[in-house]
Structure formats: structure tokens, C-alpha cells
């Protein structure tokens, strides 16, 4: 395994270096940093050009200048980054310019990628399992349309319609009974389309979902939840139970007693820890706390699974650890929602909660409360993330559908069905895992597309991120700035590649065996 990863790492590293050389040469050969000075009538232009040439070492041919840059960049490994200076930004060191931009862009790109993968695979699987149904046709057609949308156009539409309408709603949240019933019916209709089957079963599902959704909306409206949203212990309990049920279903271990007990115990433990964790969130006011909590909950889940698991203890422990780690999400959201009222009452939030400009509210950037800052970032992330996700979701949906259909036609799936396994085991245990293998390979491809998309969404939503640095650097012939962008996105791409590769080998024992042999 280690050998496999290190070999992959070395291969991609070489490719990355060559690619950086190509980008450097292309930018250096096609742009002229002295252009503005050449045409200027300034008396001292000649003198300024000499200074700039000296500073950027323009007398060194680009081919050798690249290696000077590479030497500086290699210093990053030992913690002494020298990525040159961005002359177009007043001689600011590139490393410093990247520092602030990197966090906002990477959070956007990574969040959009992960959400697109999760939703794309889920929608793609449901369409494959309901092949040739009206639902399948609708989703396929929708995917075609989303696939053909220019991202800058979608982003502007989202900004002008989505944000403004939703902010108006949040400003004065009120759901009339008629709208609640209407929304309930819509949910019911969607649910029956996904579940499918015979008419009577469909009607039952549609009715049940419609009634439940309507009641939920009426309760939320009556308790003014949209004005003061909160999750609380009730919300956390429900979400954790939902996560546990989903994981049980996804691993098709609903009917296995030890799995159910271990996962139930993990979920119960998380709920029991809700109150003590309040102190942790309060006193360890630091973004790293999220990772710490996730790790601790995963370890606790793993231990519970290990003790309860019996013969399958390895498998049970692993699944319980996943449940523990995932349960951090509702706990974190709970913390963010507690601060909702404080946030909405901030004087700087005039245009509404869902922000359309920038990566955070300027006055919030140095606020001492981490979770309030996180809520602020989240409100700014909503729209660009949706804009980035939409197109990738369409691609993942179509790809997952095609792959799962192909896998479901294989002989071993027929064997699994023939020996009497239930449908959820066949789909989740046998077919789904093999579907993930080809998907893992296109994730790496798609990540590059999402970074490209981030350049555009940053422009539309006026983010000061990596994408805007890239555009700015390229417009001003600033090679160092462009290279800084490429270095960060290139490393991120390689990291995603490696993660995909590891997932790949975890999923497919054949790869592990062939590499160890």
C-alpha cells in the first residue's frame, strides 16, 4: 500500500514539475511585464524599466529563470517559501498574497467537489435503479441542460434571483398554509417518482410524504423557525439518528444485530456528549476543534464497534467510526445556528443573510468568535458553491447512472441475486462498490474543471481568491502570481488524485493484491 502510494506520488510529482515548466514558459514568453512602461511618456520610464528588469531578473532567459523560480518554490518543503514578488501588486511577496486567497478558494473548491460527488452519485444511482422511468427521463434531460449551461451565466442568475428572493423570505419568514400544502404535494410527487413501483404503492408514498412535509412546514412556521433557526438537542438527535439509519442502509446491515447495536450505541453516545461538548466548543474556539471532535468521536465509535462487533469486529468498528465522524456535522451546524440571531443583527448585514459579494464580511474577518466567523463564511459560500456544483452534479449523475447500469448487468450481480440476497445488499455491497472505482478516476479530471469554474465564480461574486489573483496576474503579465496560483491548484489536484487512488485501492482488492505481489 505504502509502496503503491509513494510510486503514484513520485509519478504525479514529476508530471506536476513538467506542467509548471510548461505554464511558466508559456506565460513568460507571451507576456511582457515592461509593456506599460515601454509606451509611457514618463521621463523616468527608462530608469523604472531598468529597476523592474533587475527586480524580476528579466535579463536571465525564461528557460533559466524558471529554475530560479523552482529553487525558491522548492524551499517550501523546508518551510522557506520564496515564490518571488508580485510586481503588479506593489512588490508583495507571492507567498503572502496566496496565504489569504488560498483559504477562501480551497474551501469553496473542496466543498463544491465533495457536495457534487455526494449528490451526483446519489441522484445517478436512483436514476439507474429506476431506469426508463419518468423520473429517469426527467433527470437525464435536466442533466443535459445543466451540462450545457455556462457557469458565469448561472452564477449571475443565482445572484440576481436566488439570493435576493431568499433574503426577502428570510427577512420576513411566513409560509401560508396553502404554500405549505403545495410544497408538501411537490415533495410527495418527487418521492413517489424516485421510489416508483405500482400505482397503489406510489400513491401511499406520495400521500405519506406530502402529509409529513406539510406538518413539518406548518410546525416550523408556527415556531418561527425560519426567523430564528436552531437545531438544539432535538435536531442533533434526529440528524444523528438519520445518519446512523443511512449508514446502516448504505452498508446494508439493517438486519445484522451487532451492526445495529454498535451503530445505535455510537449515535446515542454522540447525543449524550452533546452537552459536555458545548464546553469544548466554547473554550476551544478554534477551527481545528472540528477535526479534533471528529477524530475523538470516530475513535469512540471505533472502540464501541470493536467491543460489540463480535466476529465482524473490524468491519463493525470501521462503520461505527464513520458514523461518529459524520455526527460531527450536525454538532457543528448546531453551534453555527446558535449564533444565527447575533449574526443577523449585525449592522453590516443590510442586504440579507445570503451574501452575494466577497468571501466574508470585511468587519467580521477578525472577530474573536471562530464559529461566528464560520457562519459568516458559510453564508458567503452558499451561492458560489451552488453555481460550481450544478454543472459537476450533472456530469457525475450521468456517469454514475451509466456505470451502475453496466455493473448491474454483470454476471456476479446475477449470481448474488440468484443466491437469494436482498436487493439492498446486492446494490450496496456488490454493485455500488464497483461503481465507485471508475468514478474515482473522473473525480481527479473534474477537479481541474472545478478550479477553472472557481476562477469564473470568483469574478461573478467578487471574491478576492486564487482565481482573481490568476486573472489579475495574467492581465498584468505577472508570471510569479500566475505560477503561485498554478502551484497551489496543481498541488490540490495532485492531492485529490492521490485520495482518489487510495479510495480506489481500498475499494478494489484486486489493485491492492497486484501492487503487493
Amino acid at each position: 500500500m505504502l509502496k503503491f502510494i509513494s510510486r503514484r506520488l513520485a509519478a504525479t510529482f514529476v508530471v506536476l514539475i513538467v506542467a509548471s515548466f510548461v505554464v511558466y514558459m508559456l506565460v513568460a514568453l507571451t507576456s511582457d511585464p515592461l509593456r506599460d512602461l515601454r509606451v509611457s511618456n514618463d521621463q523616468s520610464a527608462q530608469h523604472k524599466m531598468a529597476i523592474l528588469s533587475e527586480k524580476l531578473q528579466l535579463d536571465v532567459p525564461p528557460f533559466f529563470r524558471y529554475f530560479l523560480w523552482l529553487r525558491g518554490a522548492a524551499g517550501c518543503v523546508i518551510g522557506q517559501c520564496d515564490l518571488g514578488i508580485a510586481f503588479s501588486r506593489g512588490d508583495q511577496p507571492v507567498a503572502a498574497a496566496l496565504g489569504t486567497a488560498m483559504a477562501s478558494t480551497l474551501s469553496l473548491v473542496v466543498l463544491a467537489t465533495i457536495l457534487a460527488i455526494v449528490f451526483g452519485i446519489a441522484i445517478g444511482m436512483t436514476t439507474a435503479l429506476r431506469q426508463y422511468s419518468a423520473y429517469d427521463y426527467t433527470v437525464t434531460f435536466g442533466a443535459f441542460i445543466f451540462y450545457s449551461l455556462p457557469i458565469f451565466w448561472v452564477a449571475v442568475l443565482l445572484k440576481e434571483f436566488g439570493a435576493i428572493k431568499f433574503n426577502e423570505f428570510l427577512g420576513a419568514p411566513d409560509i401560508p398554509l396553502g404554500v405549505a400544502i403545495g410544497l408538501g404535494l411537490v415533495f410527495g410527487f418527487i418521492a413517489q417518482a424516485i421510489v416508483g413501483g405500482r400505482l397503489v404503492a406510489r400513491l401511499k408514498i406520495a400521500g405519506a410524504v406530502a402529509v409529513l412535509a406539510t406538518i413539518l412546514l406548518v410546525i416550523l412556521d408556527a415556531t418561527q423557525w425560519f426567523a430564528q433557526p436552531s437545531i438544539g438537542i432535538i435536531g442533533v438527535t434526529l440528524s444523528v439518528a438519520g445518519i446512523a439509519a443511512f449508514i446502516l442502509f448504505a452498508t446494508s446491515s439493517m438486519s445484522k444485530r451487532r451492526y445495529v447495536i454498535a451503530i445505535g450505541a455510537t449515535a446515542a453516545l454522540v447525543v449524550a456528549l452533546w452537552f459536555p461538548l458545548q464546553f469544548v466548543w466554547f473554550f476551544l474556539n478554534n477551527p481545528l476543534t472540528v477535526i479534533l471532535v471528529a477524530l475523538v468521536l470516530a475513535v469512540l465509535g471505533w472502540l464501541l464497534g470493536w467491543f460489540i462487533g463480535g466476529d465482524d469486529r473490524k468491519d463493525v468498528a470501521r462503520i461505527a467510526a464513520i458514523v461518529g465522524a459524520l455526527a460531527t456535522i450536525p454538532l457543528l451546524l448546531d453551534q453555527l445556528f446558535i449564533r444565527w440571531e447575533t449574526y443577523t443583527n449585525l449592522s453590516s448585514l443590510k442586504s440579507g443573510v445570503i451574501a452575494t459579494i466577497g468571501a466574508n464580511t470585511p468587519t467580521m474577518a477578525s472577530h474573536p468568535d471562530t464559529w461566528l466567523r464560520m457562519l459568516d463564511s458559510a453564508a458567503h459560500l452558499v451561492l458560489p458553491t451552488i453555481a460550481l456544483m450544478v454543472i459537476s452534479i450533472a456530469a457525475y449523475t450521468r456517469y454514475t447512472r451509466a456505470t451502475l447500469l453496466e455493473v448491474l448487468n454483470q454476471d456476479y450481480v446475477r449470481t448474488a441475486r440468484a443466491k437469494g440476497l436482498n436487493e439492498s445488499t446486492v446494490v450496496m455491497r456488490h454493485a455500488f462498490r464497483n461503481t465507485l472505482i471508475p468514478i474515482a478516476t473522473i473525480i481527479a479530471f473534474d477537479f481541474g474543471a472545478i478550479i477553472g469554474g472557481a476562477i469564473i465564480t470568483e469574478r461573478v461574486f467578487a471574491w478576492q481568491g486564487m482565481g482573481s489573483l490568476f486573472s489579475y496576474g495574467l492581465h498584468h503579465s505577472d508570471v510569479n502570481l500566475v505560477m503561485g496560483f498554478f502551484l497551489v491548484t496543481g498541488i490540490a489536484t495532485v492531492a485529490f488524485n492521490i485520495v482518489a487512488d487510495i479510495t480506489y485501492s481500498v475499494l478494489d482488492p484486486r489493485i491492492r493484491l497486484s501492487e503487493e505481489a
Partner: protein
Amino acid sequence: MAASVERTETGDVVGLSLGDLVRGRFFRHRAAVTSLIVLGVIVLLAFTSVGTIIGGTGKLTADPASGLIALDGFRISGWWPYNWYENYPLSNPGGLPSWEHPFGQDTLGKDIFARVMRGTQQSLAVVVLIGMLATVMGVLVGALSGYFRGKVDAVLMRITDVILIIPGLVLGAVLGHSLNGNAVALGILLGLITWPGLARLVRGEFLALREREFVDAARVAGASSRHIIFRHILPNSIGVIVVNATLLMSAGILTETALSYLGFGILPPDISLGQIISEYNEAFKTRPWLFWWPGLFIVMIALSINFVGDGLRDAFDPRQRRMPKSTSLWREFKELVGGKAATK
């Protein structure tokens, strides 16, 4: 299949060629045929309405003798009375769409229909260039590395990896910003960088097909490598190539418009659909027609190309064809209602 059997005058059965079969299947795909017609209409409309320019830089120049403003290059005029580069008096306050200017006007009085048509021409030109060049490059690289394997394969695939690791938009922007906004040059450059995906697919096809018996037979019969590649293996992988060429083209128009939107593609005074949207970005609230029309044309072109690609995929690979299943819900409903009526 009854449709594939034809008889000559003497009554012999004549088989249909692969091309006939594919064509037949394609024309039965309703969405694909509709899209092909839409695409044809868009092309005709874009090129006949406002005419076009051949050669030259496409930039505005003032004629020194008469002082008139004219375009550089050979101008072919069309049936639409307005140009994309001249300002006209506003027919409606604010440039609201009217009978004379159905797509509206901008603040300077430019006719948006003419601008969108010119932008469509440019985007289409880029798309066609990308489609042709990337297909040729991808097929060539994929065929060589799949057929010869070994060192050729290793070298070509490493080059492919290098291009793949640079995000397409980044590479396009880096190359595009030095072009001074020339559509033909942009199309050629984008064509030269978008082939790696296709190359990988073609390589996979070639790796599989080169082990087949008919290739061995050809080799034993003394066929040269060139003959085997172009006469035996390539025709067998034409489906993959054609389908992915269309996907390259629909991705190509989105890349071109995105680059022009960012200011790295086609630049003013020339026009591209993405550049129109970028130019009128701020006017969305006051003059939405400046924003809707160019976007709509991008979506229509990309969507039609995608549907044509889907139709081609079904035509070349009937295994993946959708089999419309008769829906039984309505029958069930009738039975349900009918059953209740009977028990009454």
C-alpha cells in the same frame, strides 16, 4: 430487423452497410434530429442575417479618404438592416426590445440581435475548429500510443498527463491572452489543448482492438502498420471518436465563452457571446435583454450539440439505446377505478 432487409429486382437480400444502419438509428432519435435542425437554423440565421467578414483583422478602421468607419476585411452583407458595430438611434427609451430591434438595444443604441448573431458566428467558428483539430490530434496520439505501445506510448501518455494536470481554463487563458482576441487563432489554440481526453479513449480502443483476430489476419497477410491503423482499427473505433468529438465541441463553446467572459478570449471590438455577457454584466437589473439573449444562444448551441452526441452514441452503440417501456400506470389507474366501479 425488417428495416435492414432490402431486396433487389431479382429478389436477393441486400444487407445494409454500417453507415446505413447508423444513419437509420440516428434519424429515429427524435431529440437528436430536432437538435440537428435547431443547430442548422442557428448556423443559417447567424451567417445570413448580418453577413460576415472574410479575412482581415475584423477590427474597426476609419477610411482616411471619406472618414467613414468600416471593418477590416472582406465584408459580405446579410438581410438584416443593422450592423453589430454601429450605433443607431434608440427606438424605445432605454433600448427596450421593439419591432425594429427585436432583441433590444444597449445604451449606445447598438442592435443586440446583430451583436448576438455576430457573437454566435464567432463562437461557432471556434467550436468547429476545436472539433476538427482536437479530434485529429486525439485520434493521432491515441492511435499511435495504443497501437505501438512501449516507448511511444509512454512518451505520448506522459505528455497527455502534463496537459491534463493543468486545468483547461487556465491553459486556455494563458494561451488566449496573447492572441489579441482573434477568433480563428483562439479556436486553433483551444483545439491544440483539448485533445488529451479523446486520446486516452482512443488509446483504450486501440489497445483492445489490436489483439483481435482480424488484425492478426491483416498482419499475416502483409499489411503495413499504417494500413492496419487506418483501414482496420480506426473504422472500428469510429463510434467512440465521433461521440467524443461532439462532447469536445459542446465543452469547447463553454470554454470559449468563459475565456471571453474573463477577457482572455475574443476581445472587443470583435464580439463573442461570452464577451457580450461580460460587457453587460452590470446591466442585468435595468436591461435584462442584454443578458438573456447571448446566454440563451450559448445554451441552445451547447444543448443541441450534446443531444446530437447522444443520438450518435445510441446510433453507434445500440446496446445502450433506451428502450421505451409502455407505462402501465394509466392502465393500473383504470383498473383501480374500474374495479371500484364494478364492486359498487
